[in-house]
Amino acid sequence: MTSDRVTSDAQSASGYQRPDAAGPGQDAGQDAPRSTPAISDREQKILGIIETARGKRAKFRDEKINMAHGAGGKATQTLIEAVFVPAFGSETLGEMGDAGIVEIKGLQLAITTDSYVVKPLRFPGGSIGELAVNGTVNDLAVSGARPVALTLSLVLEEGLPAEDLRREVEAIAAAAQDAGIEIVAGDTKVVERGHADGMYVCTTGLGRRDPRAELSPSAVRPGDRILLSGSIGEHGTAIMLARGEFELDAEIESDTRSLWPAVDALLESAGSHLRCMRDATRGGVASVLNEIARSSAVAIVVRERDVPVQPAVAGAAEILGIDPMYVANEGKMLVFVAPEAAEDALRALKAVPGCEDAAEIGEVRTEPPGMVLVQTSFGGRRVMDQLVGDPLPRIC
């Protein structure tokens, strides 16, 4: 045993003693060079305890709602799992898909709803109206449903210039036309000045489940490949810069667009080999991968080198100290596909306008279950965890 072991085994100030200070596993490693000791048994055991603790159904213990509850990360998930799902007791809701599937006389319908509170209302590459259509359309699309109908609910602030409203209505109409969805019902409310920030938009989307789709967040299995439909982080970064809180300037546009054409192409090329699709909005790619790893009890390994990021986004993220993997997208999705169909699916995806940069970024494995690991471009490995806190409120 080397001398440093003796010193570090010494009882520390708090009286906490390492229980297996002279554990045989570690000594074997030190005495036999070039053997293959993993981490110590005790560290392994503690990692196991931590994962068990993380695997437990989250409890909602906050006394007040804070911004993190809306960020799409861990706090949002806790709120949904601990408050909403148990209260409503819906099996469909419990599946936690992007849209709920309802079957009426053999006809499978997908339904989803979303509220848009983005600040500022207009930003490079889009505006709240366009976002409100595409965001809801995409939740239908990644559920394997062809978008059919949309409802539109507006909450307007007293004093909002009519010109701004008119402009957003036009943006909504144009986006709906592009996405091939009809706006069939609506509602308007006005609140006193100061009670809404210009306007909030709520949309509910109805889609018809495509017969080619056999998707479920829990269908993912080891060996599956993971495709990403294009470069990440543009929407969140564009919003961040548009707010002018940082003295940074870059030509970055929101990626807001309908994903239905991409989904259509994937269903055509891979059909039942597609396991699951998710659009990577709030919380970014990292949050989606964590949700899938957890719901399917699989490990996900991502090759950082293969994840497309525009240089301007990478630069802004570097300066601001954020990871593009956690930054919101409004027109990018992750696709889990059986290995035998991955190549064809990627080719089909890349042929769709707006998805030219699509890439295979990683794969699904068995160990460690529930966890997302990254092979860093530098050649190391690390965990990519769920988003904690809210780095950037009100991005959609």
């Binding site: 100030a13 708090s14 070039r34 293959t36 560290e43 990692l47 240089p311 530098f378 050649g379 690390r382």
Partner: protein, 371 residues
Amino acid sequence: MKYVDEYRDADLGRALSGEILSLVEPGRHYKVMEVCGGHTHSIYKYGVDDLLPANVELVHGPGCPVCVIPMGRVDDGIALAHEEGVIFTCFGDMMRVPGSNGSLLEARAAGADIRMVYSPLDALRIAKENPDREVVFFAIGFETTAPSTALTLKRARAEGVTNFSCMCSHVTIVPPLRALLESPDLRLDGFIGPGHVSTVVGARPFEFIPADYGKPVAVAGFEPLDILQAIVMILRQLAEGRCEVENQYKRVVPYEGNTRALEVMAEVFELRPHFEWRGLGFISHSGLKLSEAYGDLDAERRFSVPGVRVADPKACQCGEVLKGVIKPWECKVFGTACTPERPIGTCMVSSEGACAAYYNYGRFAREREVV
């Protein structure tokens, strides 16, 4: 990204990894402390451990500005934030640090006007925009951030901004290092010196480490190649029987430091007789307060703060983590009661904290070989 990617090159990383292997004496276990939390973060973020043999162990040091702030200081900040008419400003990480009765973030939810800033100049701007309010800046950090606080105070003085003051919790790097080296808990083989601090103080202040304690030091940058190269430098010193301060971060760190920044600090700050560090207790001449000349901008003089010493939570072992005595996962509450979303200790709050870095990035079985 130009000027960044060069320092993250995987091929060069493999080459340095090979060099490290060739310098390691088979069967010997090496413990190298990275002093700075920025290094800890980089090590985990890039997976630097995967390029090291298992018998080169990186021990995480005390250089995390948020981690070393004791609970009583947070309580003082919250008390100030609740003062009538005060806008309290601080860096984002600081807002989540738990005090004895909640964090600044919770104080904000309860109605205090607390704003996150990216630089002390943002706080000064808020003061100028709100002349009828008192704006307090909670200044934390080592010598890295102290000059920007000092310059901001000088500007406040020059521009005659009277509604701005500073709650100074700046600390200095050498005293805790000395305390650590005096501690019998730990046996280290060398130090990766703090790059950012050294841009201000230079590499010279670390000469006492080889001179008085016989340990090599390599002041290093924060990219993964910087860290690997610093490890090579330390291992080479050990292999050759040398013991000195080397400067890996020459592209930024002048050996004598930034004399202009040091002058400004000397004008605006003076050493406190002693300052309490989280988990490390009181350390003499380790904290800064505003000098007599700038006393009127001292928030602790302008307002009354409780200034009560609050003991760390019993279960929390941040002190031992900061000293490198235990690994984050060896703490009793790590990852179960203490997580990034519900931190008990400061090391789980800051992105530069060893516990947060290990929890967020390093929480998996990493197989490595022993040489």
